[in-house]
Amino acid sequence: MNWVALKMLTGDRAKYLGIIMGLTFASLLITQQLAIFIGLMSRTYGAITDLAQPDVWVMDPKVQFIDDIKPLQDTVLYRVRGIEGVEWAVPLYKGLLKARLDNGNFQTCNVLGLDDATLIGGPPEMVVGKLADLRRADAVIVDENGANGKLAHIDSDLEGNPKPGAVAVPLKVGDALELNDHRAIVVGICRSSRTFQSQPIVYTTYSRATLFAPKERKLLSFVLVKTDRAVDPTCVAQRIEQTTHLAAYTRENFKKKTFMYFMKYTGIPINFGIAVVLGFIVGTAIAGQTFHSFTLENLKHFGALKAMGAGNWMLLRMILLQSLLVGIIGYGLGVGAATLFGYFTQKSELAFLLPWQLLIFTAGAVVMICVLSALVSIRKVMALEPAIVFKS
């Protein structure tokens, strides 16, 4: 009876396509919105992801996320180095500084100052030049997105507005920048994870960064710690906290803390949550409603099948099979469309991350929609009196 079930459904083109459309829409919306959400949220800790070497981050206890800078005293670095289980510890400067563009406009940049001796904390991938070039005078390395985007040169009029027809010329090695009134020379272009605020990332040395930065008593943003291979980083982090009374998190925990901050204190999760729930509801409504009306229209036929000896179990299987078919097709189309969307927006500013867990999540949601719509229909068919077949 399986192919009878399938032919019943596929023979009714309009309803068949309607149900598939509903499911496609639902799985597209759920996948796409969640992929953007995940992409966006992973950017919140992009800077931590890029710093692959340190196991533990030390910071002021009041820091809530990676961009929440509460400077430490320079002496902290030496105290941390003295703690057991610490293989090495280096300073990191992180701050927002204004870059003056050659058209007179200002652009806020995310400046990272790396330990002068080791240059630990550099970008994960260089596109032009090499990290060691930072040792040259006034040297900075700029990330690709910033260089091609917000820091690119555009011919502008005296008021700083782009001249009509002007094309952006990417910032390149050898170009000069003015960071907080200090001269800087681009010696390299790198590839970094995009940050949440999407500001250009500028790498330089710690000492130069503190020169660029406005004069303050304290300038040390983080102490980055590599732990001895033999010890658990969590233990070392605890030890650092006890000794220094500062906060120390393992890389993963700091990511989590940053992620949770954005989850908790921004409207982002709610907004995406609403879109996802909406996709689910609209999908269920369209697919469920169409499937339901398909079943209603076929109620007489289901009754005839019942009279001819089809039991409830057989009819149940038929309806489940029907919803399974549209479920698989709708899921495939929806996820496929979402993937295409991700593919074509790859080069844009849009965050889009599609981990396999999300595919499973969407599959689960589609299964739920199918089961819900099938349930509504199944109830009607189960309760059906076969005697209705003689009602004209």
Partner: protein, 241 residues
């Protein structure tokens, strides 16, 4: 089995009653029906609209529960079977022809006819094979792959008859099988029905109020207001003589 051989009856109903209860208003459709159908017999049920004909064949075919009385089909009482057994027994032993044909619109003629075989667990190939044979018997051997909407009303009813026959059920029940057909087509459908559906160990119960087909009956039970008021014996002999 013993009862079956004892009385040699395909259908044996005694004192069957049925009352519909739809939200307070009770309608008594059957008020004590005695009805027997012998093997090899074509029994017609006639009577005015609303007198309980459909209700009676629904009870006989095991798709509706009676309230009182006794009713056996080939010696078996549907109401004494467990639900699964009842469905299976019906699937194997009862064939249905409906007034509105009730063919699945998206299935071809052959596929529609194959459905009872599939329900009874036959493979698709076997079912379609038998469906082809059944359709040939009703003269539609060349329309196996037609969809119902591509067939005339008479042809559709012949498909429905083929579907009722395909699995060789022992009892076929038809509700107004000719009322949607014109006189001539109705006549031909009945001729066909007599020819292919009546056999020594089979029986046919046809509900109708189409007097033009009375001549095809062996016996006619006349109903009124939930009762059988008259049974005319040997109709065919009478008509033929």
């Amino acid at each position: 089995m013993s009862i079956e051989t004892e009385n040699n009856l395909a259908v044996d109903c005694r004192g069957v009653t049925k009352t519909y209860d739809t939200g307070g208003t009770k309608v008594t459709a059957l008020r004590g029906i005695d009805l027997t159908v012998k093997h090899g017999e074509l029994m017609m049920l006639v009577g005015p609209s609303g007198c309980g004909k459909t209700t009676l064949i629904s009870v006989v075919a095991g798709i509706l529960d009676r309230d009182g009385g006794e009713c056996t089909v080939f010696g078996r009482d549907f109401q004494k079977m467990r639900p699964g057994e009842r469905t299976r027994f019906r699937g194997e032993n009862i064939g249905f022809v409906f007034q509105a044909f009730n063919l699945l619109p998206t299935l071809t003629a052959a596929e529609n006819v194959a459905v009872p075989m599939l329900i009874n667990g036959s493979s698709r190939v076997e079912a379609l094979d038998r469906a082809g044979e059944a359709l040939s018997r009703v003269g539609l051997g060349d329309r196996l792959h037609s969809l119902p909407k591509q067939l005339s009303g008479g042809q559709q009813q012949r498909v429905a008859i083929a579907r009722a026959l395909v699995h060789s059920p022992r009892l076929i029940v038809c509700d107004e099988p000719t009322s949607a057909l014109d006189h001539e087509t109705g006549h031909r459908v009945m001729e066909l029905m007599r020819e292919v559906a009546v056999g020594p160990d089979r029986a046919l119960v046809i509900v109708t109020h189409d007097s033009r087909i009375f001549e095809f009956a062996d016996r006619i039970a006349k109903m009124d207001d939930g009762r059988i008021v008259e049974v005319t014996e040997k109709v065919r002999d009478f008509v033929e003589n």
